[in-house]
């Protein structure tokens, strides 16, 4: 089951990743080879085996609820691409007709 160029374009849209035509042409065959290689995990009979999400099991990690000073606003904004009125300035998030 080969990965098509259209599937890569769809995955790129899901990932919010602009890809050029050249990148789509390169990625489709590469992903096909990589997925063929990693699909070997299916050979393992692992029906009843519980999944591991984390190497060292830890549950319910709590710490004392102590008030700490937060990052000063100027520091938090210092690396922002755009700032206005002490806030992050972002492109519009709604369509014009919404």
């Amino acid at each position: 089951m080969a990965i098509t160029r259209d599937e890569i374009a769809h995955l790129a849209r899901l990932s919010r990743l602009a890809l050029s035509d050249e990148e789509l042409d390169t990625l489709a065959p590469q992903l096909d080879v990589i997925i063929g290689a990693v699909a070997r995990v299916a050979e393992v009979a692992a029906g009843d085996i519980p999944p591991t999400t984390h190497a060292v099991p830890l549950t319910n990690v709590f710490r004392a609820d102590i008030t700490r000073p937060s990052l000063p606003r100027t520091d938090a904004l210092a690396g922002a691409p755009a700032v206005e009125d002490g806030r992050f300035r972002v492109p519009r998030i709604l369509d014009m007709d919404e």
Binding site: I3, E7, I8, L11, A12, R13, L14, S15, R16, L17, A18, L19, S20, E23, T26, L27, Q30, L31, V33, I34, I35, A37, V38, A39, R40, V41, A42, E43, V44, A46, I49, P50, P51, T52, T53, H54, A55, V56, L58, V61, R63, L71, D75, A76, A78, G79, A80, P81, A82, F88, V90, P91, R92, I93, L94, D95
Partner: protein, 495 residues
């Protein structure tokens, strides 16, 4: 003291503590060496001259005031550019963070500063720590000091090359699938991935959160132990950090015999695909271990053969989620904000322009593996395989104290040799990935040369038994050096 740059970290710190050398002199020696050789190596993305000199002067002031200094005070260090450190840019080897100055220090950085370690600068790396050759850096590849036509390994290639080129005696790297141990192996260094949770990840820009772990690179086992002890310990700012006292790694590194130690050779990490020279040096080292009193047996870990495919499903899945934070809104690059384009379009353009080919490949692969309809077959199955790999380790550790293998199947390959063949590149991490999936600690140390290039020997131990790595590694290093008659790095060609 013209050879200060060749001092171990332990010797540098001892000379500073004894007043035979100032921290300023040690730091200036490192800066001079970088000025002399780094145009050929490209180990550093940023050299913090003023910050390093100020940190060195502070160590000298504390010594003059009679304050007690830690065992690494005044020692220059290269910090992988995946950690936040105030006063220096953090790029992760990516265009998307070019010129970004972080607003806080990583916990590792706070600990290093408190210990008087002099952070010289930020070391080059594969973009977002994805790669095995440092060729995926947006700022040009790092070169192997043993042969500048060859790769220094990755993703911590800048950290490894800095130490192998005598720019700094020690460095910090990170290891998600082998990114400390593989560069250590191909540059002839000692590199350690501590037990997952043993070293704080706060301020480490995440690639694959369930696998990432920071650790030391050094020229000697003792130096690695000193750095490991400096950065280890519980951190309330990292919820995956464990509340256990760090293992006594420095004392373990001083061991010189291995009587009663049971060592298991992993059958599945040998054979076809491993260089003849790598196999020969590995066998030599096993004989040395027997001579030191260890009992060496072969063990089987049948699911290790599936570690690589499981890793290349789990790590890209986690990366596709983690790298969502690079959204052009709060920090880093923003492209195409022309007043017309909406936020999603700007985000899409920025990520397309800011990420390099390997990062894009892994985001797409991870998004695919997590897609509905494929999730159970890929990501879910990989997590089950991860359990089986942990069970293989557990069964082996009922019979032996540590497991060993070659660190890498081959010596350093040539730049450009594998850039267009991702699957061939991924094979570089064949032997190192099982420890990341199971969480246990592992070390690579040099055991000789093949074709004039370093060969690494990997030691793996159960979680929280990091001291076993240092016990076996310390004894093996001492025996090999006694036979050789000089430190391993003396065999590296002059730069």
């Amino acid at each position: 003291m013209t050879d200060v740059i060749r001092f171990s970290a332990a010797r540098t710190a001892a000379a500073i503590a004894a007043g035979e050398l100032s921290a300023l002199e040690a730091t200036q020696a490192a800066l001079d060496r970088i000025a002399k050789v780094d145009d050929r190596i490209n180990a550093f993305l940023h050299v913090d001259v003023d910050g390093a000199l100020a940190a060195a002067r502070e160590v000298d002031r504390r010594r003059a005031a009679g304050e007690a200094l830690g065992p690494l005070a005044g020692v220059p260090l290269a910090l992988k550019d995946v950690f936040t450190a105030q006063g220096m840019p953090t790029t992760c080897g990516s265009r998307i963070l070019e010129g970004w100055y972080p607003p806080y220090d990583a916990t590792i950085v706070s600990k290093l500063r408190a210990a008087g370690v002099v952070i010289i600068g930020k070391a080059n790396m594969d973009e977002f720590a994805m790669g095995s050759s440092t060729e995926n850096s947006a700022y040009g590849p790092t070169r192997n000091p043993w042969d500048t036509d060859r790769i220094p390994g990755g993703s911590s290639g800048g950290s490894a090359a800095a130490v192998a080129a005598f720019e700094t005696p020690i460095a910090i790297g990170t290891d998600t699938g082998g990114s400390i141990r593989q560069p250590a192996a191909v540059c002839g260094l000692v590199g350690v991935k501590p037990t997952y949770g043993g070293v704080s990840r706060y301020g480490l820009v995440a690639f694959s959160s369930s696998l990432d772990q920071a650790g030391p690179l050094a020229r000697t086992v003792t130096d690695a132990a000193l750095l490991h002890a400096t950065i280890a310990g519980h951190d309330p700012l990292d919820t995956t950090s464990v509340e256990l006292a760090p293992p006594a790694v420095v004392a373990a590194a001083a061991s010189r015999n291995l009587r009663g130690v049971r060592i298991g050779v992993v059958r599945e990490l040998s054979g076809d695909g491993y260089d003849i020279g790598v196999r020969a040096r590995f066998s030599d080292a096993l004989e040395v271990l027997v001579g030191l009193g260890a009992e060496v047996v072969e063990v089987s870990c049948p699911h290790f053969t599936y570690a690589l495919p499981a890793y290349y499903l789990i790590a890209p899945s986690e990366c596709s989620s983690n790298l969502a934070r690079f959204d052009a809104m709060r920090f880093g690059l923003r492209v195409g904000d022309d007043g017309e384009a909406g936020a999603e379009e700007v985000m899409t353009r920025t990520r397309g322009a800011g990420f390099g080919p390997e990062v894009k490949r892994r985001i797409i692969l991870g998004t695919y593996a997590l897609s509905s309809g494929y999730y159970d077959a890929y990501y879910g199955q990989a997590q089950k395989v991860r359990t089986l790999i942990s069970q293989d380790f557990a069964a082996a550790y009922e019979r032996v104290d540590v497991l060993v293998s070659p660190t890498t199947p081959t010596v350093a390959f040539r730049l450009g040799e594998k850039v267009d063949d991702p699957v061939a590149m991924y094979l570089s991490d064949l032997c190192t990935i099982p420890s990341n999936l199971a969480g246990g600690p592992a070390m690579s140390l040099p055991v000789g040369l093949a074709e004039g290039l370093p060969v690494g020997f990997q030691i793996m131990a159960p979680a929280f038994a990091d001291d076993r790595l240092y016990r076996v590694g310390g004894a093996l290093e001492a025996a090999l050096e006694a036979r050789r008659g000089h430190p391993f790095l003396d065999d590296a060609p002059a730069l």
